[in-house]
């Protein structure tokens, strides 16, 4: 049989927690790619954080060899991140495949991301093979779920393998179907080189590594390659495959999945979705689907200990090495000092990066409330794009403001529809439609301001639906909104890091909740401290922290001075975590508190 006919390139897509990584592990194990003893639990999630959160962020492809009817097949599994923040990366990974396994949890059924991912796969013309997972659970209802897949996703599912990735049940069926159902790649290894970059990472010795799928031609060490979007040219220093660790090979040909290294210093030069060709014999047209990745959520990141600015800078630089989608630039805040304004693909991305800074670099940081990019049209005709509330000009200079909105789809059992509609209403959502998928599942579509989602939409949705609803969104442009900036004044001084941009109708209640919350968090000072919320010069809410009256360490008994000194030293350490606005000291938690406003905003 021809070489290319024995290749299968596929990925696994699923709603979060439906068992994608577990199935990947089983496939690797069953094909003998890794001995069982070499497997860490869920080998593909290779970051500590990923394993902990049970989510996959970074993609790691794996080549497996599978014997079927006397022939050795090469199965290339390209794992995909299962989160809405990484939709673009997922779509590029899908573009590198011919087939997709769609995992659906046998008791949960179709969820928001099941559908979103299935549609992405359909958009990329992939053959989709549904697999029903977790049939070992007592609540499994595989037949109903199959029907649900047919009804909701609209693909045949009656012959879908019913498996338990956890127990290893029926994994062979999946492998067989991969060979039988998924088409072999098409392509011509004698044609001019055409590769898709579907991911990248940084290696301290080899530089930025491109993860590629070869569509046409052949690439080997010594070739001069060209990135078609950036126009940059590199000499190939290494080509290889993943088994799942890197393994050097002589070349990669049409149909293959692997990596190229070329002494690429900067990961930003390797853009996901870009096409690689030969510099001296290029193709004319790049592969379709390339997009420049843009951050959508922003926040300020500051070191708790102001002296650690440079350490924070190093941490961001190092993270950026491996994550081209992370954006940051220096920012100065009156309240928080020197730090960075960072841009992220979404809230999960934000959470991951900030957690990695704290964990891997052992830095305590303050993050300001997440915000989005606003388009501010000024009366003088200027257009400002701002993500930092403190950069918003005064109301008199503003003609109008536009904010980004998203198309949101929410899957839920019908009994929670009321609660969800109330939530969406509260978040200034515009109702689009409601579709009954079956008797116990409803899909709600809303247009929602992104700025509302970045507050605590996920948490509220989860708590209002006992975790039954799932949620997915895509950006849907900008809309004009009546937005204002609410400033917080402490002892009459504005604290820039606490400013927020909110809808006018919510300004009063947000201002009230914020001042109340700050009153609880900011400790008493030597003097009375008024806390005010204001729009421009108009005060909309006020609280007062009364002066501190008692702060004495217990008596010096029997000359035990050491204990007291140690207590003081501890308190002094704690002071480093405080920020000063004028003469008022604020603990760093205060800056985070505005993230959790909405639980009390009802």
């Amino acid at each position: 049989m021809e070489r290319i006919k024995k290749i299968r390139n596929f990925c696994i897509v699923a709603h979060i927690d439906h068992g994608k990584s577990t199935l990947a592990d089983r496939l690797i194990e069953k094909t003998g790619t890794l001995a069982k003893r070499d497997m860490q639990a869920q080998i593909l999630d290779n970051m500590e954080l990923e394993r902990e959160k049970g989510i996959t962020i970074k993609l790691t492809p794996t080549r497996m060899i599978y014997n079927y009817e006397g022939e050795e097949y090469e199965l290339n599994l390209i794992d995909t991140p299962g989160h809405v923040d990484f939709t673009y990366e997922v779509s590029r990974s899908l573009a590198a495949c011919e087939g997709a396994i769609l995992i659906v949890d046998a008791s949960q059924g179709v969820e928001a991301q099941t559908l979103a991912n299935a549609y992405l796969a359909i958009d990329n013309n992939l053959e989709i093979l549904p697999v029903i997972n977790k049939i070992d659970l007592p609540s499994a209802r595989p037949d109903e779920v199959k029907k649900e897949i047919e009804d909701v996703v609209g693909i045949p599912a009656m012959h879908a393998p019913c498996i338990s990735a956890k127990d290893g049940t029926n994994i062979d069926q999946v492998l067989e179907m991969i060979v039988k159902e998924f088409p072999a790649p098409k392509g011509n290894e004698d044609a001019r080189l055409k590769c898709l970059i579907f991911d990248s990472y940084y290696d301290n010795f080899k530089g930025a590594i491109c993860l590629i799928r070869v569509f046409d031609g052949c690439v080997k060490v010594g070739d001069k390659i060209k990135m078609m979007q950036t126009g940059k040219v590199y000499d190939v220093t290494e080509v290889g495959i993943f088994v799942p660790n890197e393994k050097i090979v002589d070349n990669l040909k049409a149909g293959d999945v692997g990596y190229i290294a070329g002494s690429i210093k900067n990961i930003s030069d390797v853009e996901v979705g870009d096409t690689i060709t030969l510099a001296n014999d290029p193709i004319e047209k790049p592969l379709p689907g390339y997009k420049k990745v843009q951050p959508v959520v922003f926040c300020g990141v500051f070191p708790v200990d102001g002296a650690k600015y440079n350490e924070l800078k190093d941490a961001l630089e190092k993270l950026k090495l491996n994550d081209a989608s992370l954006d940051y630039m220096p920012e100065v805040s009156q309240a928080l000092g020197f730090g960075f304004r960072c841009g992220f693909l979404g809230l999960l991305h934000l959470e991951i990066i900030t957690e990695r800074i704290e964990r891997e670099f052992n830095l305590d940081i303050i993050t300001t409330a997440p915000s989005v990019f606003y388009h501010v049209y000024k009366t003088n005709g200027e257009l400002l794009e701002i993500s930092n509330p403190s950069a918003l000009p005064s109301p008199v200079e503003i003609e109008h403001i536009e904010e980004p909105v998203v198309k949101a789809s929410i899957f839920t059992p019908p009994e929670y529809v009321g609660a969800i509609m109330e939530l969406c209403q509260d978040k200034r959502g515009v109702y689009k439609d409601l579709i009954y998928i079956d008797t116990n599942r409803v899909k709600l579509n809303y247009i929602l301001p992104l700025g509302e989602i970045v507050f605590d939409f996920f948490d509220s949705l989860k708590s209002r639906t006992k975790g039954y609803a799932s949620f997915d969104y895509e950006l849907a442009g900008y809309q004009k909104s009546d937005l204002v900036k609410v400033d917080i004044l402490l002892n009459g001084e504005k604290c820039d890091a606490l400013s927020i941009i909110v809808h006018k109708d919510k300004a009063y209640s947000r201002g009230r909740v914020l001042t109340e919350k700050l009153k609880k968090i900011i400790p008493r000072q030597l003097f009375e401290v008024p806390i005010q919320a204001a729009i421009g010069t108009k005060v909309i809410a006020r609280e007062t922290i009364s002066a501190m009256r008692k702060d004495v360490l217990a008596k010096c008994y029997g000359g035990d001075i050491t204990r007291k000194r140690k207590l003081l030293e501890k308190q002094k350490e704690g002071k480093k975590r405080m920020r000063k606005i004028g003469s008022v000291e604020i603990p760093s938690e205060a800056f985070m508190s505005i993230l959790k406003l909405d639980d009390e905003d009802k």
Partner: protein
């Protein structure tokens, strides 16, 4: 001059707010314990002072409840100290006592062996409050004891009072102080009751927060008390201590001014020439002489302690002394602010905490540390 502290960890009953090292129902331990004390006193010369007898001017018998210790043992301890140190003529020898364990004969005996200062745990003259905190005596007993002590000839009597007890008001608390003052008490230690970890009070407090007054109520009484003393012949020479001039506790003052002191007994602390020592907190280790902690203070720690202690009492903080250790406190940004606001007062080479801010001294100290 060096001061001597002796810890006597015996009590008839544990007060429910007490987090100190003390034990009940172990009177049979007393002889054994005292023998170890005597031995420790005997050995201290060689251990700390190269075999020389040091001059001392204060002895403080603390606890626990030293007044329940047998009189012959008190005498033995004092004798041992006198044999191993030179006791200055102008000395202060204090014993802590509980009203219920004092009587006229005991007082006479104390007087005879040279004790010249009593620190009496009156705590309150409200009988309901005495019950709540699990004291063994009544207010009447307390008053009697003070009267008897005066009759026996004790001039220097100090009384401990607790602020923040349930039935306290500004008015009745001041009245209590007046009663004691009129009996001839020359020194008051007024502490705000604290809910310490692991105490009975903590358990009770968790069940009923109203078992003591809240912070604002306590602070009101505390401020009123300071105000009352301020208008009398009493001087507030430390956050919680008020004395008629000349009746300040010489011994306690050593703790606050960085003077040397040596502590004997379990859990006792010493500070000798820049080194802090602490004895172990249980009998067996103490008897074996094991686990004595030793801490040589760094420059930074000396600075911290000087600031912490100097702002606690009217001794103040010595600016050139801090400078000599490499810390110019006047350059601290909070210092300037506080000086402007009259929170701290600079006088000659020293800086003092304005007594109006004694109640929040911790907050201020933390800011003024290097």
């Amino acid at each position: 001059m060096l001061g001597v502290y002796v810890h006597l960890p015996f009590c008839e009953r544990k007060c429910n707010y007490c987090a100190f090292i003390s034990f009940t129902n172990i009177q049979e331990q007393e002889e054994n314990y005292v023998n170890h004390l005597l031995e420790e006193i005997e050995q201290s010369k060689n251990k700390y002072f190269e075999g020389k007898k040091e001059k001392i001017d204060t002895i403080y018998l603390g606890g626990g409840t030293p007044s329940i210790v047998k009189l012959e043992n008190i005498e033995k301890i004092l004798d041992a100290i006198k044999n191993n140190f030179y006791l200055s003529e102008n000395n202060e020898i204090t014993i802590e006592c509980n009203p219920n364990s004092l009587d006229i004969n005991k007082l006479k005996f104390y007087k005879k062996v040279g004790i010249n200062r009593l620190s009496i745990g009156v705590q309150t003259l409200d009988d309901k409050d005495l019950k709540i905190i699990n004291r063994l005596h009544t207010s009447e007993q307390a008053i009697d004891v003070v009267r008897q002590a005066r009759e026996v000839g004790f001039e220097n009597i100090s009384v401990d009072l607790l602020i923040g007890l349930k039935n306290q008001t500004k008015e009745n608390f001041i009245k209590q102080i007046e009663v004691l003052k009129n009996l001839g008490v020359k020194h008051f230690s007024c502490y705000m009751i604290q809910v310490e970890n692991g105490t009975k009070l903590e358990q009770l407090y968790n069940l009923d927060k109203n078992i003591i007054l809240n912070e604002d109520e306590s602070v009101d009484i505390y401020e009123k008390t300071a105000d009352f003393f301020n208008k009398s012949e009493f001087l507030r020479y430390e956050i919680s201590n008020f004395a008629v001039k000349g009746f300040e506790s010489k011994h306690n003052y050593k703790y606050w001014t960085g003077e040397n002191y040596i502590g004997f007994g379990m859990a006792a602390h010493s500070y000798i020439n820049g080194i802090r020592y602490a004895n172990p907190k249980n009998f067996s280790q103490y008897y074996l002489g094991e686990n004595i902690s030793k801490e040589v203070l760094t420059k930074k720690q000396i600075i911290e302690e000087h600031i912490m202690l100097g702002f606690r009492c009217n001794n103040g903080v010595n600016i050139p002394f801090l400078n000599s250790l490499g810390y110019d406190i006047t350059q601290n940004s909070d210092y300037k602010f506080m000086k402007e606001k009259n929170i701290i007062i600079e006088k000659n080479d020293k800086v003092y905490l304005n007594p109006n801010y004694y109640g929040v001294n911790n907050f201020i100290i933390v800011k003024l540390l290097p």
